[in-house]
Symmetry: C2
Subunit: 126 residues, 2 copies
């Protein structure tokens, strides 16, 4: 199997408090995001923290999607890492939209190709 | 809870084939790495691929550790993301050592602080 991958890191701000604190919603959102990008879901593990916050991962045949949410700050820390021909920005865009992020920073790396090279960070105020 | 975190991406090459293909070994290694760095383990999910390769995650109270292994290429794609006072390099160093990586590239990001800033990639041939 080819080692090449694309890893998108998305910092989402201004997200909806209730969505960020709803583990079932986030789990469905991440599975849906994986499927929308054409991934095959293999494992799903989410955890709800007290008094608030959700962490979780969807392991896909093509790598993973993760989230750590901080509802009290309107912040969600997102990773979407795909290999093969998948486009990680499809899932990252879908997640940002569904969490109602008002500000978003995104950075993308190639993985598995040797020297690490960083594409320029982008900031979107939406 | 504070949003600040440190995210280490490690590209490991020249790793031991058998270790990269042993899901039980990798799962124990990642839990041990999390504990060595002082993290609290919350969820563990690993998946073994046919004919080879392992993907998995350890969700910790302080974020996550992930791996995607490609035994046939001696390659392991590692992420260690911690918040709080933990040092993600402790787990990343431990994992690289135990997988017998002969070459390693590492990059570190701060997370959850606003603008994304990338610390210089480092390459180690060990």
């Amino acid at each position: 199997m080819n080692t090449l991958g694309r890893h998108v890191i998305s910092e989402l701000w201004g997200c909806d408090y209730n969505k960020l604190n709803d583990m079932d919603f986030i789990e469905r959102l991440f599975v849906d995001a994986a499927l929308k990008s054409g991934a095959e879901v293999r494992e799903v593990a989410f955890h709800k923290f007290a008094p608030q916050g959700v962490s979780g991962v969807v392991i896909i045949s093509e790598s993973h999607l993760t989230i750590h949410s901080f509802p009290e700050h309107g912040y969600a820390s997102i990773d979407v890492y795909t290999c093969g021909n998948l486009d990680p920005t499809i899932a990252a865009d879908y997640i940002a939209e569904k969490l109602n992020a008002t500000s978003r920073e995104t950075i993308e790396f190639p993985r598995g190709m040797g020297p690490i090279e960083v594409k320029s960070p982008s900031v979107q105020n939406v």
